[in-house]
Symmetry: C2
Subunit: 288 residues, 2 copies
Amino acid sequence: MSFDNVYEALTGDGDARWAFGTGFTDPLAGVETAVPPGVDRADLTAYCLMLGDDALVMSHRLQEWCTNAPDLEEEVALANIALDLLGQARLLYARAGHADGTGRGEDHYAFFRGEEEFAGVRLVETPRGDFGDLIAKLLVFSTWRLALLQRLIPSRDPVLAAIAAKGVKEVAYHRDHAARWTVRLGDGTDESHRRMQAGLDRIWPLVAELFTPHEAEVRSARSGVGADPADLRAEFDAVLDQVLTAATLRRPDVPPDPGGRRGLHTGALGLLLAELQSVARAHPEATW
Amino acid sequence: MSFDNVYEALTGDGDARWAFGTGFTDPLAGVETAVPPGVDRADLTAYCLMLGDDALVMSHRLQEWCTNAPDLEEEVALANIALDLLGQARLLYARAGHADGTGRGEDHYAFFRGEEEFAGVRLVETPRGDFGDLIAKLLVFSTWRLALLQRLIPSRDPVLAAIAAKGVKEVAYHRDHAARWTVRLGDGTDESHRRMQAGLDRIWPLVAELFTPHEAEVRSARSGVGADPADLRAEFDAVLDQVLTAATLRRPDVPPDPGGRRGLHTGALGLLLAELQSVARAHPEATW
């Protein structure tokens, strides 16, 4: 199988893969999906799920802007970005299903895993926030992801390589879109500048995690399948510096301490507090 | 006000502060609570809330063992540890209420703050798990907290100093209790050894956070009010090494990457997935 064939299979005409729903045909149907000799199947599975989860959760957050964007054109732009990322998630989940040998389809990974089985970075989970929060998150996410996907184009796994080659074109547009908005808001009114800076400040404690490798990422990079996220930092910083300078914004000076002390808790705390606080909140004036 | 008076006020006879409920009288009633000159009120408030939140959430997790402990004696022991920590939380919240000048009582901090306002470490949130998980968490938590409280005894804030002096006696017992169980389980049967090691392995990614200072902790340490958690690591490691060696357990070799890639997500992901997955889980066989 040549790289060109897989890429063409993913990008050819008649491609109707990007709709919402379940029970679709395998987005990699017709593609040669044998895992190359010497590639660790467990690591390839884990790696595809990590990148797929990043895309799915980011896509979902972007979809929350439908009917909420500042104008109709932006509405369509955000929906298209969300659909691009949903498509990336579908391809990556399909690849994981082949690599792990279970034949499980994309639906399994998206709909039937628990929170603790999701391996996406925490950045993409952060609540919707205002438009400044959105643009800050999209700028950081797409700058990081573009640098990552570019390094996967020569991957030893031809399917991952093709998914990356397709994704690079998409995410390059996402990054450009976010960068233009960043400059427009940062170099705009006092209020838009303030909100854009606040959006950056709020997500910055979660930026360090993007460059902190998991073992499966390190092993995937060593075997020529994936990329070590630690290697992406210099490119990320250079791009961000350029955009932030043009936007008259400053790079946030927030230490990478993305833990409980800053209010970033695990999902377990919300459930615990729901129980702990339920009676007091139902009867705020009562004593017992 | 002398240090001894506050300490005696906290530990004197007729002390009925440790029950559950709401609307109690101020646990610091009768104590001189003026904030010493030169002590930053905002930092003192934040610092007391951090230590109070650690204690409250840990206490709640321990209470979940009521009716679930392996025997009645252990049931009582765990309940007593939970009550000690609840008492520490109450005193620390009361101190925060004085320091922030709002006069808000402990109920406000415990019951009427959102998840994102809680500043406890994520270690204490982790779900109950099995008895090995509990003992691993209690060993790590009490070793860390004892080292911390010992450094607060000479605090420039006499109330915090008194709370720490009282707490040291309590947490020294908690640590001893956890260490004895660790040795008994680790050096016990194959099954108890396996579970004790698994409990340590599961919480270890969250240990690094205990020693990662927040700015308010650093400033509190510099001003002689608090302690920098980074300074506690050597003592923590020495105690853990001693206990783990006696228990024939190994120190986990898990990198400190306590983020989304390892399934440790923010509370926002659970809510997002609940929506994203709801239809597919309600109708697992359907396609649409």
